[in-house]
Symmetry: C2
Subunit: 213 residues, 2 copies
Amino acid sequence: MGQPGLRERKKLRTRLALIDAALDLFLAHGYDRTTVEQIADAVEISPRTFFRYFASKEDLALDYLTEVETYVLAALAERPADEPPFTALVNAFRTATRKLAEKAAEDTERYLKIRKVLESTPALMGRAIGRSAQTERRITEVLARRQGTDPEHDRRAQLAVAFVAAATRIGFECHDVGTGMGDLVERVEETLALAEEAIRPDWHICPPPGALS
Amino acid sequence: MGQPGLRERKKLRTRLALIDAALDLFLAHGYDRTTVEQIADAVEISPRTFFRYFASKEDLALDYLTEVETYVLAALAERPADEPPFTALVNAFRTATRKLAEKAAEDTERYLKIRKVLESTPALMGRAIGRSAQTERRITEVLARRQGTDPEHDRRAQLAVAFVAAATRIGFECHDVGTGMGDLVERVEETLALAEEAIRPDWHICPPPGALS
DNA sequence: TGTGTTTTGTCAGTCTGTGTCACTAAATTA
DNA sequence: TAATTTAGTGACACAGACTGACAAAACACA
């Protein structure tokens, strides 16, 4: 049992082939004007099988993004327990962004293609942002657990996550995809620095007495 | 031309009838299990005509929300020019929320129904958040014009809008729909106050020398 | 009342996504 | 190695969202 098994390997290959074929078709003809049938044909599988790999066409385009977002969860778990929450978040998003930029060329290329598709398909961009709100919830859970608070009611934690996530998103948005992954990390660092500048240094460490929970 | 004309009035009536019928069906059977045909039948129009009133089923469910968001644009335009940007934003979101809470009972009921549908349909909630990101862009444009900066590059403005919008969203989220519109304003006020508490009082008024643009 | 414009319905069609069933090939067991 | 179980696939049928084209109805106005 040293190998993942023949079946598993083939599945992974088909999955990647679908993503790559789809992204190229999206870039060539546009997301909306590319049909599932065309994608399936390019990989020589039946359209029915396409939906056994991805729940929807949208799913194919956005799944990789949520994967990236989970890096933040991993990075946050690594932060020392005594780090103030806002700082820990900023550092976690920083680390996750760096990790993305340092991936294999093949992976980053895939990522850049997705970004390009997103930029030329506003509706899809909206869906991506909607999804990342879901990830924010999970990040908030981890942060709240760290603080020993209830994620559903700790509004400071919710705010902190929303702030840092928004800053990171803005950093990504002002990164020019045309330049490859080169400037991405810098853009995000800059924007996170701006966010840190905006926040009171002592915020969230100890809630002022009598403050709203 | 004192009246909007018979035709216009009938169109408005049909539009509202569609929204109300749809919301009731959504609440009774769920958003996904309600078909456009059922909604059209309830109002006695053909399914084809439905799509002349709304671009999509999703559109029917979310259009009213974007309408609410535009209140912020109106409120921001009313803020005195010498108010610091972050304060102006907070006040604009405050005013917009109050305006929503003070609408006619019929309108607020519609709004509460939409909220309930959203809560029971995560996918739809995601779409709503994705759309509001679009509104954030428009708010940023107004704020940047106020400051005389370029909305595409003024990252402080982008951050400020994202922060205040996120705080407001969190305020809405922690408002219990079951209690009617009663506590909504308070919840949002509380959350915005928390956000103000988090931000340096002098932030964004005058960028520190040598800061990143 | 007649005429021109808007709105609506009908029909046919595309595309996404799902349920079902039979078939093949891998994995497991004897 | 042979028999058996299991997973992945293709083919077919179908529901539901949405669109384009054209004809019929409803309306506004002279």
